[in-house]
């Protein structure tokens, strides 16, 4: 479970995140939504260690993880995906996942020859099978379709055996049918990690989330179950109304 308390971050005069506090319950999907510029991504980056907060704390399962470096967070069980696909494009799909698996191994095994480092290979094969990527195993990730690349992103995250899985607009740039596939994929992961999701696709958010946090101009505007968020006039005014009108 993740606890965020009074998180603040300013870029010069712009207060991107103001006094943000929330909790995400274990094995639940908590989503952060809000119009562009609401501070979702900043909040996300503060939790994932990509940015350092000016003040406030982040707690993971009772441990203070505020401001830790991304590599330290990853070892503590925080895995994140990126809004713009961020993978090893010049390496094979297998190697992308295998590298994630390898990071769980003892560092003392890192001088063992790669083909004898068996456990990460088995782990990578299992993950690829689970995500239906076996056929793509030997292809360079740079050559995969956008949808497959997004899938590899999630596979890499799950290979890290995360306690907290942070997904930054996983369906960005996807067709409606691909998005539906992803809906099912993310649902299948809910039992295995606490999931924190940023997503623009409101229907996806409403279908996936147990808990929704609505941000507006850097602050938390509202939080509650999808139904309550949908019903809230405050939210509708700030976000949903505008967004639905646009769609």
């Amino acid at each position: 479970m993740i606890k965020v308390r009074a998180l603040n971050k300013a870029f010069g005069g712009l207060r991107a995140v103001r006094d943000l506090s929330f909790e995400a319950l274990p094995r639940c999907v908590t989503s952060i939504i809000g119009p562009n510029g609401a501070g979702k991504s900043t909040a996300f980056n503060l939790i994932a260690g990509t940015l350092q907060p000016d003040s406030g704390t982040v707690e993971l399962d009772g441990r203070d993880i505020t401001g830790r470096a991304p590599f330290a967070l990853a070892r503590l069980g925080v895995a994140r995906s990126f809004q713009i696909t961020n993978l090893f494009f010049g390496l094979s799909t297998f190697e992308n996942v295998r590298l994630a698996c390898q990071s769980l191994e003892r560092r003392s095994s890192y001088l063992v020859r790669l083909d004898r480092l068996a456990r990460p290979q088995a782990c990578a094969r299992a993950i690829l099978a689970e995500f239906g990527l076996q056929e793509r195993a030997n292809e360079l990730v740079g050559n995969l379709s956008h949808g497959d690349q997004r899938r590899v992103e999630i596979a890499v995250c799950m290979a890290l055996r995360p306690r907290l899985l942070m997904l930054d607009e996983p369906t960005q740039g996807m067709s409606p049918s691909e998005t539906a596939e992803f809906d099912a994929l993310i649902k299948s992961l809910t039992g295995r990690a606490t999931i924190l999701l940023i997503e623009h696709d409101v229907d996806l958010v409403m279908s996936l989330s147990d808990h929704v946090i609505v941000m507006h101009q850097g602050e938390k505007l509202f939080e509650g179950t999808p139904d309550r968020v949908r019903a809230s006039p405050l939210v509708r005014e700030a976000y949903l109304g505008v967004d639905h009108a646009a769609v």
């Binding site: 390496l91 295998r98 590298l99 769980l104 020859r113 740079g142």
Partner: protein
Amino acid sequence: MLQPSIPPVEPRPSLNTAAKLNVGDRLLRALYPPRANAWQLRWLGFAMLVLAAIFPWLGGPFYTRLAIESFLFGATALSVDILLGYAGLLSLGQAAYFGLAAYISALMYLHVTQSFWLVLVAVVTAVAVFSLVLGAVAIRAKGVYFALITFGAAEILSKIAHNTRAIGGSDGLIGIPVPRITLLPGVTIDLQNNFVFYYAVLGVLVLIYIGTRRILDSGFGAVLRAIRDNSDRVPYLGYNSFWYKLLAYIMAAQVAAVGGLIYPLLRGFVAPHLFGFEVSTKAVVMSLVGGVGTLLGPLAGSVIVTFLESAVGSYTERHLLVLGVIFIVFVMFLPDGLIGLARRLSASRGKAAP
């Protein structure tokens, strides 16, 4: 410069189809060759070794000694490849370690000891300390700044050597005695004999090559390749890339130092130019000519460039100009080097004959 930034990840045509490739795709394919044809590398390595083994009987003393020199610079080229081909770091200052090792070794033979092994220990220690400190600073800088810091450090050493009378100033140190190296009790290596010298250095180079290959064929090497491919992503997998780069840097420094360790025994003198830009860039060109990221390529490249330079040098003083032209031609037309070319030729032949 030598390393293409990965193009944005829009869905794009497969690199495997022989469709039109743009320059970015070509570079990408060049730097990330498919691993499937590792056996070709093995054959090539074997062929090179056979050629190297019979060379002294064909070449005569002058060329034998030139070949030894090319092996020594080959180690420096290999060190460039460890950094560029694996960690994605372009060092323009590998001469710092070549020169440092050469000066320490020369000074010790002149004033301290005739024991090769003591000199070896001193060089390894000095290079480890120096590369740890410089690496820790330089690695925090990215891209071209890393290149500039490494370049600057080598230049500073060169100026220090140039201006310090105690170590010979601009003249360098001459008259370095050639020691007898005791390999085992009763077994000595007599470096006065060209054949012995040649095979000893060849043996050392082969050992370094195998050792380097073995170390990089590991989980450690896999993380380095990931860093080269996309260093921003690496921390999110739980790897602290700083340590991996630093270890690669120290390893490369040691490999570059091997050339410097032996150089004074071959030429009998050391001079400030051993720290110079020419040595550093030559190592980069050798690496590029052979093929970055192959480890074997730089060794082939060093032999080719050294002999070419010697041949050109007998016609004109301006052999550096030739080096420059080679560099430009390879960057523009053969970014994957000769090994890449061989690979592509054999691949296309494989396709032609079904």
